[in-house]
């Protein structure tokens, strides 16, 4: 069977408050830490939803909109850059699994 790209995979995910223009982020990342002292920048490859990306200068950027609340970055980041919360049902993003 055909291999799916990550964006095709995430296209199958049912996100909450998708219609809202401004959702409240549930994860805060101090990318200053990622871009100064972190030796591995591992969130850019271990995150199953690729919420952490590297730009052409090798700087880490984070977006929470695709987050599927798995928790990976909460453990993988050992530099203290990630403040992780659950999304607010009213004002946040996050997932509603159809199957789980």
């Amino acid at each position: 069977m055909k291999k799916l790209t990550l964006s095709e995979r995430l296209g199958l995910v049912n996100y909450r408050n998708q219609g809202r223009s401004e959702a409240k982020p549930h994860i805060l990342v101090e990318t200053d830490i990622c871009n100064s002292v972190c030796p591995h920048k591992c969130t850019t490859y271990v995150c199953p939803a690729n919420c952490y990306t590297l730009d052409e200068l090798g700087q880490v950027h984070f977006q929470f909109e695709d987050c599927i609340e798995c928790g990976t970055c909460l453990y993988a980041c050992d530099q203290g850059a990630v403040t992780w919360n659950y999304p607010n049902p009213e004002s946040g993003r996050g997932v509603t699994w159809n199957l789980g």
Binding site: M1, L10, V13, P48, Y86, N88, P89, T96
Partner: protein, 441 residues
Amino acid sequence: MEDKFDCIIVGGGIAGLSTAMTLARGGAKFLLIERGEFCGSKNVSGGVLWGSDLARLVPNYWEEEEGGWERFVSHRRLTFMDEQSAFSLDFKSGHFAEPPYSGVTVLRARFDNWLAGKVEEAIAESAHPDESFLAQNILVEEVLMEDGRVVGIRAGEEKFFADSVILAEGINNLLTRQVGLQSDYVPADYVAVGVKEVIQFDRSVLEDRFQLSGLGGLSNEFVGFASGGVEGGGFLYTNRESVSIGLVLGMKDLREKKHTPYDLLNAFKAHPAVADTLRGGEVLEYSAHVVSTGDIRGMPRELYGDGVLLAGEAANLLLNAGKAIQGMDYAMRSGLLAAETVLAAKQKGDFSAATLKRYRDALEESFVLQDMRNFQGAVHLLHSPQMFGAVPNLVCDFGRQFFTVDSEPSKKSSQMFRESVKRHSSYWDLIKLGFKASRSL
């Protein structure tokens, strides 16, 4: 305080719902709060619910035609993989095809939602049908404490009070950390990340392809190439009209080896032995979730405190000792035992840590902590590099030699084995491994 509950349960997964069911039947007043739109909507598992406790919660659940479970496991398979080959231990038995089943496959958004419906029914039939609630779409932000004891919870501006709070919030146990039962930072050493796809088939195609009769199903675990050199393994479970296929990858090893979960999943799905089983399927959902490795060192420092109990994966209750990945059955049993402890505390009128310790004792006596303690050696063994590298490679290499018929004089199998050992390991390493295995498994 008039509207004080006997118990507030945070989390409507399997642990929380099992607690709720038991409390409803025991005549307690409780409030269960689930942050998802419905119970199960935030939950991901492989997943097989092993064991027989489901029948305690929902007697004769197998008689219900549209029950929330998928298939009972009647066919088990453990597959060793290298890049091209797959060598399996395969066990199918008519003994597994009779209820009570010892394992059912589930999709959590369906299963938990169904179980929540059963809890609603139990509340309606209980001693307090108007005083116990199952509240969904509400996020608990804080556990309320007074003089070192837990007295309730806060959700937004609203506060709710109870004699006891059961945290059944799952592996990402923020509230457990808040009350000080677990450190704020849990290192990557004690967790893995699971990634999974649910792939749909025409039901008759699925049943023919996997030789399923009735609601019988297959549970297949994979070690070796499946996880792309990263500590962990793969799984494939059949549902009614789909398969759940995925990987569980050690977080620390994934970080060190610089791999990406969905790329590894693609490679696993493309393996010749796997690709053949997935042909023509349509991916319905991609999901991921952190999962405990079952390492006891990752557990919270205690499972109870004054007015508070931890159940399910919030307490890191999980085990993979090579036979099965057990987590949901641990959640179910711990939820049952937590509820029984609360009922006993209610009768005594004492919810102090000294009384709630009974929960810990009950867990220690049950299969949950007995097995977790007895099989820690197996957990470490399965996480050793040989188990997802040299061993599956050796097994497949031997298989390839043994099953090759090539119009040349054949070697004896003992010689084939010696050659495989030489290529992928050494006798000395195998003896050490065999010794560890015989002690730990």
